[in-house]
């Protein structure tokens, strides 16, 4: 057991760091994860990485993965977090792609994987419905076989960034007579340009347009768009959720967030002294950092187990729960740190010149919006209560 980087790993870190420094788009430096980015901004780094062959490190090598060890992947995320890189979005790379290369046909792999790898094709996730949130298996959207086509009808919701999407993967009920809600569901790919697909924005409490309602009315897609077996989509759905959880800890990004918080708390004053010198606030940061360290080493242990051949198991639920709690706590403390200047509603000041953005110190902009926005993290990807159900059932056997 040791924490040292081998000479090869040090060389790898230097190579990665140099590549990022030389190639990360200058205009996106420090922009971070703000949600009001354009499609091109979201995809810029993804496309550069696609050309380099580094856009999908976790995939099996034969589909374009890098074959990196868990330590190399750790280094990779650390180095990207250093510049707040806007990483490839998970919907294609980490969600639908693993389902396709695990359950899909050779044809499907050839058809879909290259576009995901390169960043040319944007995917969105059609899982949740107005009546199927945490209780995902109660999907009502139907797909009915008609000759060589599926005819899909229903409504999806919380479709993240669907306004940019080329394709979506949808859970549809294909056997309404199935005995259990988990049975009779199928995993179907839909081109978002297909007639009958309509995406409507949902405005969130932070003012952003991040999620949508997706309406499907007599949407016809080829039968070949089914991934895996008919009526066995729940297998894909569960598999995808486990993959979704494993990257969700966000350790490197949160570490960067703590650095930023410390910087802000060093500039903000309380009774004429830096806020960070107030014992109360400093100890809150310490507790956060300590909790983050616990998460980091839990993730490292999980990665080590994964590279020893174990796929992401129910343990990844811990990473989801603790990772999101920490992200939320981080934005909460950042909000506290900026004091009065949390109030100006940056998203409400349109960048059209009529009301210039930027009231208060730069570091105060978007702090409240980010805090509000991050409440989503303990709800999405299977709420943290669902994650506890998973651990209870799968690990504790209750």
């Amino acid at each position: 057991m040791n924490l040292d980087f081998s000479p090869e790993e040090v060389a790898f870190r230097d190579e990665v760091r140099t590549f990022i420094t030389e190639n990360y788009p200058k205009e996106l430096a420090g922009v971070g994860t703000r949600e009001d980015l354009s499609r091109d901004e979201f995809l810029a780094w993804h496309k550069i990485l696609g050309k380099k062959g580094w856009s999908v490190p976790a995939w099996p090598e034969k589909y374009g993965g890098t074959g990196w060890t868990s330590t190399q992947r750790y280094i990779w995320s650390e180095e990207n977090a250093r510049v707040d890189a806007i990483m490839p979005l998970p919907f294609g790379v980490a969600m639908v792609a693993p389902v396709i290369y695990t359950f899909g046909t050779e044809e499907q792999k050839k058809e879909y994987l290259p576009g995901i790898r390169s960043g040319d094709v944007w995917w969105c996730q059609g899982y949740s419905e107005p009546g199927a949130g945490s209780d995902l298996a109660s999907v009502k959207t139907t797909a009915v076989r008609d000759g060589d086509e599926w005819v899909i009808n229903g409504q999806k919701t919380w479709t993240t960034l669907a306004q940019f999407a080329d394709w979506g993967f949808f859970l549809c009920r294909t056997d309404p007579t199935a005995k259990k809600p988990q049975e009779g569901i199928s995993f179907i790919l839909v081109n978002m340009k297909t007639p009958g697909v309509e995406v409507r924005p949902i405005k969130l409490i932070d003012g952003g347009h991040e999620v949508n309602e997706t309406w499907l009315t007599d949407v016809r897609v080829p039968v070949g768009n089914l991934v895996g077996k008919e009526n066995e989509g729940w297998t894909c759905a569960k598999f995808l959720l486990a993959h979704e959880r494993s990257g969700i800890a966000g350790v490197a990004r949160s570490k960067r967030g703590v650095e930023k918080l410390r910087a802000i708390a060093s500039e903000e004053l309380i009774d004429g002294k830096p806020l960070i010198q107030s014992g109360d606030f400093a100890r809150k940061i310490s507790q956060l950092e300590i909790d983050l360290t616990a998460l980091e080493f839990t993730e490292l242990r999980t990665l080590a187990a994964e590279s020893a051949g174990k796929g992401p198991g129910p343990e990844s639920s811990i990473l989801k729960i603790k990772g999101t709690e920490i992200q939320q706590r981080l934005t909460e403390l950042t909000l506290e740190a900026v004091g009065n200047y949390a109030a100006p509603y940056t998203a409400g000041m349109e960048p059209d010149g009529s009301n210039e953005r930027g009231v208060g110190p730069d570091h105060s902009n978007f702090t409240a919006e980010t805090y509000f926005n991050m409440r989503k993290t303990s709800i999405y990807g299977g709420s943290n209560e669902i994650q506890r159900n998973i651990i209870s059932k799968m690990i504790l056997g209750l």
Partner: protein, 384 residues
């Protein structure tokens, strides 16, 4: 980066785990704890036979060539079995000081620690010093070529079974100064040493140790005169890592017992483990344990790093383990209901041990402050 145990470490774990299972069951432990001696020298001899007492020492020093990770493996198993024998005071603390001592000290004591013939206790705490390692009223005054020690050391764990003490005393400076702390080896049978022995709430034995004009030679000093604090802090951080490992073992068992109990205990016509509110509580216990294991690895793997990194790692681990241990212990009792309150069930004894671990070598508040103070080292200068 590597999170695998060596073959030797795996063997240590397996053989110790078997020994505890076969000879350290809960009823046996209760009898031992209630006995006059409070421990089993024969068990200590078996630990020595298994090589546990030699495991963390280098081969040059006559050990098996292991290190802190080996101590971690041993302590985690001790935690699972609520073992009371003094591995932490004697091997981790006593051995931790002496392996950094002079050749003469190594020759005189290290072999004895490894064979189990010498047993050390670490007399550092004082009645008014709380967790501050340099808040010392015990003094060691120059006396000819040696020193004369006077003072009162508090709650010295394992002292009733010890043959020797490692003692911290002030040789110069003011009461809490970092400078002026010196570390001594003192034989328990030295003239002027007296003890008041007592049981602790978690099944161990401890003593108040009094030093009255105890004469020691200059050769009794471990490390440098007046400059002992860095060594004390180093050994204490190693002890914290080992203590965290013990806590992990105890948390694991307390949690498993609770899950098992909830499967069998029926109320309102159903097993209480079917209630979601209790399921989620037990998941939280599970997560506390997992994260404690992570922090224990982290602190153990960082004991050899630079001073600030090492101290922050130890404090971070101690904070997390203090909080996790308290949560797991309290909830284990809660979910066991009235039965958890009884002395006859093992779970309460795990709770008691976890509770006391928080207070050893500094509790959550102490280490949260130490971590914060250490973080402030690289802070920008205050801008008024």
């Amino acid at each position: 980066m590597d999170f695998n145990f060596t073959e030797e470490q795996g063997m240590i774990r397996d053989s110790l785990s078997r020994l505890i299972r076969e000879q350290y069951d809960f009823d046996t432990r209760r009898k031992v704890v209630a006995s006059k001696e409070g421990w089993r020298p024969a068990m200590w001899a078996q630990f020595a036979e298994l090589g546990l007492l030699m495991a963390p020492f280098s081969e040059e020093d006559g050990g098996l060539g292991g290190g802190p990770i080996d101590a971690m493996v041993v302590m985690e198993e001790f935690g699972k079995g609520l073992v009371v024998e003094p591995y932490l005071p004697s091997v981790v603390c006593g051995g931790g000081f002496l392996k950094r001592g002079s050749d003469a000290q190594k020759a005189e004591h290290l072999a004895g620690i490894m064979s189990g013939e010498q047993i050390f206790a670490f007399a550092y705490a004082e009645p008014r010093g709380r967790y501050n390692l340099s808040d010392l009223e015990t003094t060691a005054k120059k006396e000819g070529a040696g020193f004369s020690i006077n003072g009162h050391k508090a709650v010295v764990i394992g002292a009733p079974w010890a043959t020797h003490f490692v003692v911290t005393a002030r040789t110069s400076g003011g009461r809490r100064d970092a400078k002026g702390v010196t570390v001594f080896v003192v034989a328990k049978d030295a003239k002027g040493v007296s003890t008041r022995d007592y049981p602790t709430v978690d099944g161990r034995r401890a003593s108040e140790v009094y030093f009255e004009n105890v004469s020691v030679s200059a050769e009794a000093v471990v490390g440098e005169v007046d400059n002992g604090l860095p060594l004390v802090e180093l050994v204490t951080d190693e002890a914290i890592a080992a203590l965290c490992a013990e806590a992990c073992g105890a948390m694991k068992v307390a949690h498993e017992m609770t899950v098992e109990y909830s499967r069998n205990r029926k109320q309102f016509g159903t097993a209480i483990g079917k209630f979601q509110v209790l399921q989620h509580r037990m998941v939280d216990m599970f997560m506390e344990h997992e994260q404690s294991v992570s922090m224990t690895y982290m602190a153990t793997l960082k004991v050899d790093e630079d001073e600030v990194t090492r101290k922050k790692a130890a404090s971070a681990a101690k904070v997390r383990i203090g909080q996790g241990g308290r949560f797991v212990g309290q909830q284990a009792i809660q979910i066991h209901g009235g039965m958890g309150m009884t002395d006859e069930l093992a779970v309460g004894h795990y709770f008691k041990r976890l509770t006391m671990i928080d207070a050893e070598f500094g509790n959550v508040d102490y280490h949260l402050k130490r971590y914060t103070d250490l973080s402030a080292i690289d802070l920008p200068v205050a801008a008024e």
